[in-house]
Symmetry: C2
């Protein structure tokens, strides 16, 4: 039924080894025999079996990527960066959604390892001791992507979330705002949550602005939670003149909530966020945001992984990509 390397060998009148050589582009084959083999391959419709090859060579040319949620545009963008570079280096990717759930993350890491991936790209929530444990059961290189562990034991590529948040809030402060609210993600989330919250606090503190607990709401990254948070802020006796949102989507919710309360953005309340997803420029007013280079984070982390897999020298195991503030229309003076 299935045609194997053996069939090709017989058809071409050579040995299996020779067929294997031409299929793998080994230069040690006389052009004439190479030609014969190619013809036999063509005639028989031979297709190499990558599974057999993987077993024999112990390399599968596939990498595992665990991602929180591919339907989230931010991560989808990262995934595209990953796949483009993977493709460039002839790797395929097995994609697993793990929703930042620790159990699921560890489970998929294990099945990925069972599948003998040559490398692992991990995008998740907090990296716990159990994660490290799971990574340590294997020799395959792992790189954290848009994720980092505080101990910095694992190679990673990400932006500096604390600084990104800091920069966003600074922009508000520079515009004269003194009463600045924040719509945060859960503080359990190291990057999108905790770090951005820390950046917010530091910016306030360094500028002599007092931290007011009632000016912080925790959202779930979704549009609706942005409007809920904003409703709360607007109902305050002394409402903020600006709000910093941990993500675009919540920021957009906030903007619409402000508008629905017959207030103006940025006239009455300024809004800034970090992400800069495609949506940022697709709302009115267009959203001012600190841009995370999601595609690049994916691409760079995959590139790093290829080096690790080939045991090439890498000079930097923890790479922090630059972020930048994209001024649009949602921030004005106090």
């Amino acid at each position: 039924m299935t045609v194997t390397i053996y069939d090709v060998a017989r058809e071409a009148g050579v040995s299996m080894a020779t067929v294997s050589r031409v299929v793998n582009n080994n230069p040690n084959v006389k052009p004439a025999t190479r030609k014969k083999v190619y013809e036999a391959i063509e005639r028989l419709g031979y297709r190499p079996n990558a599974v057999a090859r993987g077993l024999a060579s112990k390399r599968t040319t596939t990498v595992g990527v665990v991602i929180p949620d591919i339907s989230n545009s931010i991560f989808a963008e990262v995934a595209r960066g990953i796949e483009d570079i993977a493709n460039m280096y002839h790797y395929n990717i097995i994609l697993c959604n793990a929703d930042k759930k620790k159990d699921k993350e560890i489970r998929v890491v294990n099945t990925l390892l069972e599948k003998q991936v040559d490398g692992l790209l991990f995008m998740g929530g907090a990296v716990t001791e159990d994660h490290l444990q799971a990574f340590k059961t294997t020799n395959v290189p792992v790189v954290l992507c848009a994720t980092s562990d505080e101990n910095e034991q694992i190679p990673s590529v990400d932006i500096n979330h604390e600084e990104a948040a800091y920069d966003a809030v600074m922009k508000l402060i520079q515009n004269g705002h003194k009463r600045i609210a924040m719509i945060s993600g859960t503080l359990q989330d190291p990057a999108n949550g905790y770090a951005r919250f820390q950046g917010y606090k530091r910016a306030l503190q360094e500028n002599g602005l007092s931290y007011d607990e009632s000016l912080v709401r925790i959202g779930n990254y979704r549009y609706e939670s942005g409007v809920e948070a904003m409703k709360y802020f607007i109902a305050l006796d002394e409402r903020p003149t600006a709000v910093f949102s941990a993500t675009d989507e919540m920021a957009i919710g906030a903007i619409h909530c402000i508008q629905d309360s017959d207030l103006q953005v940025p006239g009455d309340i300024s809004v800034i966020s970090v992400d800069n997803s495609r949506m940022a420029s697709m709302v009115r007013p267009q959203l001012t945001a600190v841009a995370q280079p999601m595609y690049d984070i994916g691409a760079v982390s995959m590139r790093l992984l290829t080096k690790l897999m080939k045991k090439e020298h890498v000079e930097q195991y923890k790479v922090t990509l630059p972020h930048e503030i994209v001024m649009r229309q949602s921030v004005g003076g106090a």
Copy 2:
């Protein structure tokens, strides 16, 4: 170095076959021996090698999915549906972006087949004779996902794009509009382009409205092309009172273009589209759209594929999922 089934067998004092049985949950193992084996596995830190298993059993429990672009939110949503169901049936997915480019599509299909995937989910542009040819070189089941071939030779799940477009335009007509423009995708794209355009024309025709070529612009599915198209329509001597966009993103571009021209949506011009992505409810006015059940398309196609892979009986090889119109704020009377 790596611990194999053989090591476990020795450690547990049983044969390889028995270890294989417990690992595969074969009921024909005495509980006591099963326990012994589990303990040995634990002690040795044994992890099954899925590649070896794949070679021996000729099943890899992985399916290939070729997708146009994972960073497009519409497809990302489908992908999530696919992965959720795949996961439920213990399959993993290898994801390949092919950008609706025929060459790339055929190339990735072949590498996926080399990797011995148990099934293939194909999401692409037009399904050509060459595609069919590629599919035919193998026994692994293929299902087209959000894609269909005119000959209906391959199982598929999708919505009826022609009808979806028809319904959208009908809604406009029922609201009294007579001068209705369309922002279409390229007519080379069978589903998003050609079929939707046909639906538009049929709706006009069935209602005695003449088709006017100057009322149709071809976009590239992006926001910017929506604003370009709309600019053109607004500059017309007799501008349309409503526009039907083939996708949400172009529709949003159109809305903003209208607003920037000091016109109102839907006061001056109504806008409707098909897609109903998350963005539809995140713009003002909120976009009225025909909803494609993207997640379901992914989930159902994966479910269908599992049946095909298990050679189970399937009663319907071509499934057309229902679409529905979601009334929001962008459509008003003529």
